[in-house]
Every structure is written in structure tokens, then in C-alpha cells.
């Protein structure tokens, strides 16, 4: 296998090859680090690579194999962590000058678990400042680019993660998703990403984002995500909202098919404006589920437009906690984020409580829909990737509402906590990837993974590589 192919080999196969001593963790890690050296300068996916620690860990992993030690499910497999997520002993800047030199003393539980499963940390991936927006550039790390077209954004806020995975700079990435931040970049870069059910993967430190934040895997294949999620998921006392039960055996149960599922397809949730190419590609992808034997109905799910409610929750989540930092840091912060912080300062307490009430009511509509359907399909995004350095596809219109107008499909399921994934479903005429969103019932992470897997079998995508 040449080194490029090695870098594009799924984690499931790498793990198997390591266990069977056909591949050495050192060989894998060297190949990936070499590719990062060559390609990261173009993309800026990693903001803090940890090459030396990774090599040391790889050598220890190799030794463990040679010694016949018991190996974890990710033994010798490289992964990355988004820079919003704390990693023991590894700088965690959160895309901000404020945390430029912050080195946490503990791991978030998911990182602790990946380490424990034998994974090899390659480094931290770029995020906009505190993950505040759906594109990736930050005052401390600059611009991150899309491997399919370097002029374009890889999306955000897990933009470094998506660029990394798409470009073969590591098969596994931890992303976080408070309004679409796993699914948006997965959609823009042609990879798989799943925001699991709220509480499935413990988040720590607790986010003060009103239970909007989720952590999940970003990968090239569905099996890789299933493998990674089965390691990351499960209750942990550090997060009091982490779910009580351990996760299902996602990887083992993936191949179930969709033949008996009732699936709804909504092209616009009743109110979104979608780019015609995106609409056509996602509509065709939805039809693939009918070909796989599922009942697919085109519907208007009639959830109502939750944008105003979400904007209140989002502004307070993203900006409310930063008000005290403005005085010292404003000039070194992302000006767009500063606007959000100032907006947060104009809200009353009553506005939050009312938005929370509206959110409860929104759930009531969504759960009624899932009485009738097992899955909801939508486009992941309203548009394909647009130019870096912009907040929105059309820079003439860049209000907060415009910012959410191109991600209308993702944030509803942060409000409700339903599991939701983005699967690659084709390319625009300009060669930019397009994603289909698959949303499941509360707690039905497994069903979402199974449907994603069925789609992947029918319309495989992982053989497509960006030219870099």
C-alpha cells in the first residue's frame, strides 16, 4: 500500500491490520504525520499538531502489540481533537487569543476514552473563536480551507476536523455541534459526521449553552464513526446530563438495512431556501432509500420556523458568558463574535425563559412527527461551500438571520437533541460536496447509523479524494 492509500484507509481496517500485525502503529502514524507536514500548510486543519507525542505513543503501541498485550478497539489508530475540547497537557486555545496559552490538566471523558482505547492523538484541529460560527477562521489560527477547493470554507465550527478527515490527515476526528458544527463541515467537505443524541457522549466542562452542545465523531466511513462513537459514548459523572445506559454495539449492528423503515423527506422543512443543485442532489439521495426498500414520503413536517427561538438561545450561549471579557479582549476577538456578545448584553432574563418555553413547544411538534416516521431526511445545508473569509454565501447579506439562513436544517435538532448525521450524497457541477441529513428519533443513534450505512453501501463515497 502506498502512503496516500494508507492515509485513506478506514480506521476499522487499520485497527484490524494492527491487531493482526500486518501494519505497525509506527508505520501508520509516520505516514499520516508526513502527509500532515505536506498538506496542512495548505489547509490549516491542525492548529496544534502533537507529532512527537504521537510518535512516542505509536512506538509504545507497537511494543504493546509485540508484547501480546490486550489491545483496545482503536489500538494504534490516529485521531484528532477539536480545539474547543480539553486535552490533558495539550494546548487548548478554543480559537481565541484569550486561551492562546491554555494547557488543561485533564481530558474531557471522550478523549480519555479514545486514549484508553489505544488511539493516537495527532493534534488539535482548528475552530472559529469558541466555535461561534459555521465557517472556520479565528484570530489565533487564521483561515482553514476546504480540501476540495482551497478558495472555499470547509464549514465550521469543526472545520479543521472536516478538512483533516477529507484530506486524509487522520481518519478520525472529534467534533462538537451546538447548532450544526459537526454536520455543516461534514456536508461541505464530503465526509460523514454524526451529532449523537443529547447526552450520548458526555461533554465536560459543562457547556453553558442551554443543552445545545453535543460531541461526536467525524470520519470518512460510517463504520469508522460507529467504532469511534462506541468508544466515546456512555455515562460519565463529569456530565450530569450524560445518559444513564451504555451505548449499543453500533459497529456490530450496522448492517440492518432500512427495508422496514418509514422515512420522511423534506426538501425545505417548509420554510428554507435551498440552492437548486443542492436540492436536486439531496432529493435524488432520498430516493435511494426507496430503492433500498423503505417507504419514503415527501412531507412538510410542519415544525414551524424555530429560528427566532434558536437565535436567542444561541446568542446567549455563544455570547452571554463572554460579556466580562470584552473590556480586556475586544480588540483581539473576532469582530463578529464581539457583535454577538454585545447583542447578548441587550437581552433580558425574561427573553431567555421565554425562548426556553418556545423550545419545549418546538419539541412537542418534533416528537409528534416521529410518532409517524422513523427517520427524517433533509439537505444538510442550503448551499454548497462558499468562499473563505465570509460568514455567509452572499457577503452583502450578513445579519445573524442570514447566518442561520444557510444552515436551516441543523440547529432544529440541537434544540431537540435528536440524533442527526450528514452523509455525502454527491457533488455540484463545480465539484463541491453536498450532504444529506438523516435525523432519527430521540436516542435512536443506532437507527441513524444503520440508515447511513445502508446509504453508504448503495452510494459509496469514501473512494473519492480531493486533489491536493
Amino acid at each position: 500500500m502506498n502512503r496516500d492509500d494508507l492515509c485513506y484507509t478506514p480506521a476499522t481496517e487499520l485497527a484490524k491490520a494492527v491487531r493482526e500485525k500486518r501494519l505497525s502503529p509506527v508505520e501508520i502514524t509516520e505516514a499520516v504525520l508526513e502527509r500532515i507536514d505536506a498538506i496542512n500548510p495548505k489547509l490549516n486543519a491542525y492548529c496544534t499538531p502533537t507529532a512527537e507525542q504521537a510518535m512516542a505513543k505509536a512506538r509504545a503501541a507497537e511494543q504493546a502489540v509485540m508484547d501480546g498485550k490486550r489491545l483496545g478497539p482503536l489500538h494504534g489508530v490516529p485521531y484528532s481533537v477539536k480545539d474547543l475540547v480539553i486535552t490533558k497537557g495539550v494546548r487548548t486555545m478554543r480559537g481565541s487569543k484569550i486561551y492562546e496559552h491554555f494547557v488543561p490538566e485533564e481530558d474531557t471523558p471522550a478523549v480519555e476514552r479514545l486514549r484508553g482505547a489505544g488511539g493516537i492523538l495527532l493534534g488539535k484541529t482548528c475552530s472559529p473563536e469558541f466555535g461561534w460560527k459555521g465557517v472556520t477562521d479565528s484570530p489565533v489560527t487564521g483561515i482553514t480551507r476546504n480540501p476540495w477547493n482551497l478558495e472555499m470554507t470547509p464549514g465550521g465550527s469543526s472545520g479543521g476536523a472536516s478538512a483533516q478527515v477529507a484530506a486524509g490527515l487522520g481518519p478520525l476526528a472529534i467534533g462538537t455541534d451546538g447548532g450544526g458544527s459537526i454536520r455543516i463541515p461534514a456536508g461541505f467537505t464530503g465526509i460523514f459526521g454524526i451529532k449523537p443524541s443529547f447526552g450520548r457522549v458526555p461533554t465536560y466542562p459543562a457547556s453553558n449553552h442551554d443543552m445545545l452542545s453535543h460531541m461526536g465523531p467525524m470520519t470518512r466511513t460510517v463504520s469508522d464513526a460507529a467504532l469511534m462513537l462506541s468508544v466515546m459514548a456512555g455515562p460519565h459523572e463529569a456530565d450530569r446530563f450524560s445518559l444513564e445506559d451504555g451505548p449499543a454495539d453500533y459497529e456490530e449492528l450496522l448492517d440492518r438495512g432500512v427495508g422496514d423503515l418509514r422515512i420522511a423527506w423534506s426538501r425545505d422543512l417548509g420554510y428554507a431556501r435551498v440552492d437548486p443543485q443542492v436540492a436536486a442532489l439531496t432529493e435524488r439521495a432520498a430516493q435511494a432509500f426507496a430503492e433500498l426498500g423503505a417507504q419514503v414520503d415527501a412531507v412538510d413536517p410542519d415544525f414551524g420556523d424555530p429560528t427566532d427561538t434558536f437565535i436567542t438561545l444561541y446568542v446567549l450561549g455563544a455570547g452571554g458568558g463572554l460579556a466580562d471579557l470584552l473590556e480586556e479582549w475586544e480588540s483581539r476577538m473576532d469582530p463578529g463574535l464581539v457583535t454577538v456578545v454585545k447583542m447578548a448584553a441587550s437581552f433580558k432574563g425574561l427573553d431567555v425563559i421565554r425562548a426556553q418555553m418556545a423550545r419545549h413547544q418546538y419539541w412537542d411538534r418534533v416528537r409528534r412527527f416521529f410518532d409517524r416516521y422513523d427517520l427524517l431526511l433533509t439537505p444538510t445545508l442550503a448551499v454548497p461551500a462558499f468562499r473563505v473569509g465570509q460568514l455567509v454565501p452572499n457577503p452583502e447579506r450578513s445579519s445573524l438571520r442570514d447566518m442561520f439562513a444557510w444552515t436551516p436544517f441543523s440547529y432544529p435538532f440541537n434544540m431537540t437533541g435528536n440524533p442527526a448525521a450528514s452523509v455525502p450524497c454527491g457533488f455540484t457541477d463545480e465539484g463541491l460536496p453536498v450532504g444529506l441529513q438523516i435525523v432519527g428519533r430521540r436516542f435512536a443513534d443506532l437507527t441513524v447509523l444503520q440508515a447511513s450505512y445502508a446509504f453508504e453501501q448503495a452510494r459509496p463515497w469514501a473512494d473519492q479524494r480531493p486533489k491536493l
Binding site: E237, L243, A345, G349, L350, V352
Partner: protein
């Protein structure tokens, strides 16, 4: 058995007798209704009595027994529903003039489950307006009296629920607890009440108070509460915060005992004022765990003083939820609630986010404690019951809305969601009941029930009846 004895027979026993046909559901319901008719005018536990419906249901239950139908675990057992909980076709006043004529078209899931288990619903029990305080008076339904002494408060907000159980007007009552509202009246009335883990019992419509409200059982015996909890617990799509996991078999696993457990006893959580007699009685009950095989240590759990946090969050939520009613209804609302709303109006959204950030961090202190101890014991309350219509006992500093100072052992576990029960611990020299609070780790409802059962076995209380 005379009627009073029948009315004081535990639900577990009644259910067995009905299954064995030694007791008819009609006979039982008639006896309980007769007792309600005799005592309720004095005590005011029920605000809406459903005598005809209950008798119909009892006759139906009797026919089911005769027809050898499959019987639910609560077949023929009378229960009451708190008037904050909705029940199809029955006026749902929530203790407020504003909703005096509201009639919902759906059952809350707890009602659905009780019905399905065969329970006979006797009626709705009183609550202060919107359950805003831990006391038992209400602008709409007037004073609910403590069965142990007329003229004293029964505590709240599950006021009527506690009184109905204590006075033999139904063995089981559904309560709800947003800052102590199951535990406070249980302690004042000498009964058992458990606030299960957050999400254990689905709550619908969801209370809009940042995940503070818990639904749970109130009963005279621990086994009765375990039986009722096993019926009402478990996930429901109606409540997106309801837990995924199924409940444990509380009933069969109740007798595990305390042997080997490491138990901390905190007389004051490090900062609370407690009346000396209450301190003495609860200390004796807590130290009694030692003779049951547990290792008991006096501890300061180090949670820190959170009184400012509860006061501000409580009022912010009251303001967000009820401010809109002030212009039209203020004169007919509880003046204390009005004062609490007015206070809550002053908070900005940024204040709210800061407060919630502190609340999130509070969990970190509590979970650290439960890494070292299996259980935490505290007094349930700082005082014994005091005159109804007062917010605070006469010998405590008075305040226009802040009733929390004497009830501050409760709300910390609404912040965190830990399961917590109030167990009868004895009586003051004046003959008023005193409660011991038993708090368990996240999700350890079974452990709290088991400890409560052990405590009950060592120092049974259910044979004590108030002088009504």
C-alpha cells in the same frame, strides 16, 4: 378491619388483597371517599374530588377482578394527582385564579401510567399558586392544614398530596418537586416522599425552570413509594428530558440493607441555620444508620452556600413564566409570588447565564462528594411546621417572598438532579413530625429507596396516625 384501618393499610397490602379477592376495589374506594368526605372540609387536601369517577372506576376494577382479567400492579388502588399535573377532562387550576376554569384535553404521562396500572384516581390535590412556595396556602383554594395540628402549614408545594397521605385519604399521591416540593410537605406531615433522579419520571408539559422539576411518589411506606415509582418511571417521548434507561425493579430489590455503605451526615451543609430540636432528632436518625451496618461520618460536603443562586434563578423563572399575567391578575395572585416575579424581572440575560454557569459548576462539587460517599444524610428541613399563611416561622427573620431559608436542604438536589427522599425521623416534643433527607448518587434511585427501607424497618413510622 374497620374503615380507618383500611384507609391506613399500605398500597402493597391492598393490591395483594384485591388480587386475592379478600378486598373489593369498590369497598376500598368507598371507604377512602367516606373518609375524604369527613376530613377534607377540615384539612382541604383535595381541591377537586372525583368521587363519581372514582366509584365508576372502582366498579370497573371489581368487574375486572371477577372476570379474571390481567391486573396491573396498582389494580384498584386509590391515588391522588397534584393539581399542577394535568388530567384529561378535569379542571387544572394550578392553584391560580388565572386558570380556575382550565380543562386540559390530555393526561400527563404519570396519569396515563397510573390508570394503566389499574389505579383509581380520587381527585386533584391542592398546591400554592403554580407551586411557587414550599407552603400550603393558595389564593384560590385557601389554606391546607397539617393533619398533625390544625392551623399549621402542611408544607408544599405538594401540600394536598402530603395531607391526603398522612390523613389516610388515599395511600398514594403523586407529587412534583422543583425545589423541595415533595420532600418539604413529606417532612412536615410525617410521610415518605422521594424526588427521583431528574428525568426518571416523565414530566409533561415540561416545567420551564431549567430542568428543576421532578415528578415522584408520596406514600406512608417506602414499599408503597417503590411500587408507585416502578409504575410511573421510564422514558416517554412526551418529555425530551426523560431518561432513556428503564427503571430498576424497585419493589423486589428493596431489602438490600445498608451494610458496608459509606454514609456522610451533614447537619447543616456547612452554612444552614437549623432549629436545635430538629438538629437533634435528625442527627439521632442519621447516626442510627450506624447500627444498621453503615459507616456514618459527620461531614461538611463542601458544596458552598448557594442561597443567592436559588433565590435569583427561582425568581427569574417565575418572572419569565408569569410576568405576563400581572397586568390583569395581580390583585388575585399570591402577593408573595407577585413579589418574587417583580424581583425576577430585574435580571438581565447575561445575569441569568452567569447564574446558570454557577449552577452547572455546583454539580462538580456534588459529584466529587459522591466519589467518596454512597449516601448523604441531612435534616429534611430546618424547622417543624409553623402557622399556615406564613412564609417563615415567627422566630426566623421575615421576608416578603423568600421562603427558602428554612427549606434549603432541598433545592441543591434540584440543581443537580440527584435522587433525594424525606423519611420520617421522629417528632418534636410538641408532637410535630421531623424528616431525614437521604440523597444518593446520580441515577441511584434504588439505593435511596433501599436506604429508606432499612431506615423504616429500624424505626417504623407508618403506624403513627395524626389526631384528625
Amino acid at each position: 378491619m374497620n374503615d380507618a384501618d383500611l384507609c391506613y393499610t399500605p398500597a402493597t397490602e391492598l393490591a395483594r388483597m384485591i388480587r386475592e379477592k379478600t378486598l373489593s376495589p369498590v369497598e376500598l374506594t368507598r371507604a377512602v371517599l367516606a373518609r375524604i368526605e369527613a376530613l377534607n372540609p377540615k384539612l382541604n387536601a383535595y381541591c377537586t374530588l372525583l368521587a363519581d369517577e372514582a366509584m365508576d372506576a372502582a366498579r370497573e376494577a371489581e368487574r375486572a377482578v371477577a372476570a379474571k382479567k390481567r391486573l396491573g400492579p396498582l389494580h384498584g388502588i386509590p391515588v391522588s394527582i397534584k393539581d399542577l399535573t394535568m388530567m384529561k377532562g378535569v379542571r387544572w387550576m394550578a392553584g391560580s385564579h388565572i386558570f380556575a376554569d382550565r380543562v386540559p384535553t390530555e393526561d400527563a404521562p404519570v396519569v396515563t401510567r397510573l390508570r394503566k396500572a389499574g389505579a383509581i384516581i380520587l381527585g386533584k390535590t391542592t398546591t400554592p399558586e403554580f407551586g411557587w412556595k414550599g407552603l400550603s396556602d393558595c389564593p384560590l383554594t385557601g389554606a391546607t392544614h397539617n393533619p398533625w395540628r390544625h392551623g399549621l402549614t402542611a408544607g408544599g408545594s405538594s401540600a394536598g398530596a402530603a395531607v391526603s397521605v398522612a390523613a389516610g385519604m388515599g395511600p398514594l399521591a403523586q407529587g412534583s418537586d422543583g425545589a423541595g416540593s415533595i420532600r418539604i410537605p413529606s417532612a412536615f406531615c410525617g410521610i415518605y416522599g422521594i424526588k427521583p433522579s431528574f428525568g426518571r419520571v416523565p414530566n409533561y408539559p415540561l416545567s420551564n425552570n431549567d430542568n428543576s422539576t421532578h415528578v415522584g411518589p408520596m406514600a406512608r411506606t417506602v414499599a408503597d413509594a417503590a411500587l408507585m415509582l416502578s409504575v410511573i418511571a421510564g422514558p416517554s417521548e412526551l418529555d425530551r428530558t426523560s431518561l432513556e434507561a428503564r427503571p430498576a425493579d424497585y419493589v423486589r430489590k428493596l431489602g438490600k440493607g445498608l451494610r458496608g455503605l459509606k454514609v456522610g451526615y451533614s447537619p447543616d451543609l456547612g452554612y444552614l441555620r437549623v432549629d436545635p430540636e430538629i438538629a437533634e432528632i435528625s442527627r439521632e436518625a442519621a447516626l442510627g444508620f450506624e447500627s444498621l451496618g453503615a459507616h456514618v461520618e459527620e461531614v461538611d460536603p463542601g458544596f458552598g452556600d448557594s442561597s443567592e443562586l436559588i433565590e435569583s434563578l427561582w425568581n427569574a423563572h417565575e418572572a419569565g413564566n408569569y410576568e405576563e399575567f400581572l397586568p390583569e391578575w395581580e390583585a388575585k395572585m399570591d402577593p408573595g409570588l407577585v413579589a418574587s416575579i417583580r424581583d425576577g424581572q430585574r435580571y438581565s440575560a447575561v445575569d441569568y447565564i452567569r447564574l446558570r454557569g454557577r449552577k452547572n459548576s455546583y454539580w462538580d462539587a456534588v459529584r466529587a462528594y459522591f466519589e467518596r460517599y454512597d449516601l448523604l444524610l441531612t435534616p429534611a428541613l430546618s424547622v417543624a411546621a409553623f402557622p399556615v399563611f406564613k412564609l417563615l416561622p415567627e422566630h426566623w427573620p421575615q421576608h416578603p417572598w423568600n421562603w427558602m431559608p428554612w427549606a434549603s436542604f432541598s433545592y441543591p438536589f434540584n440543581f443537580t438532579g440527584n435522587p433525594a427522599a424525606s423519611c420520617p425521623a421522629g417528632f418534636t416534643r410538641d408532637g410535630l413530625p421531623v424528616g431525614l433527607q437521604i440523597v444518593g448518587p446520580r441515577f441511584a434511585d434504588l439505593a435511596v429507596l433501599q436506604a429508606s427501607a432499612a431506615c423504616e424497618q429500624a424505626r417504623p413510622w407508618a403506624h403513627k396516625r395524626p389526631p384528625v
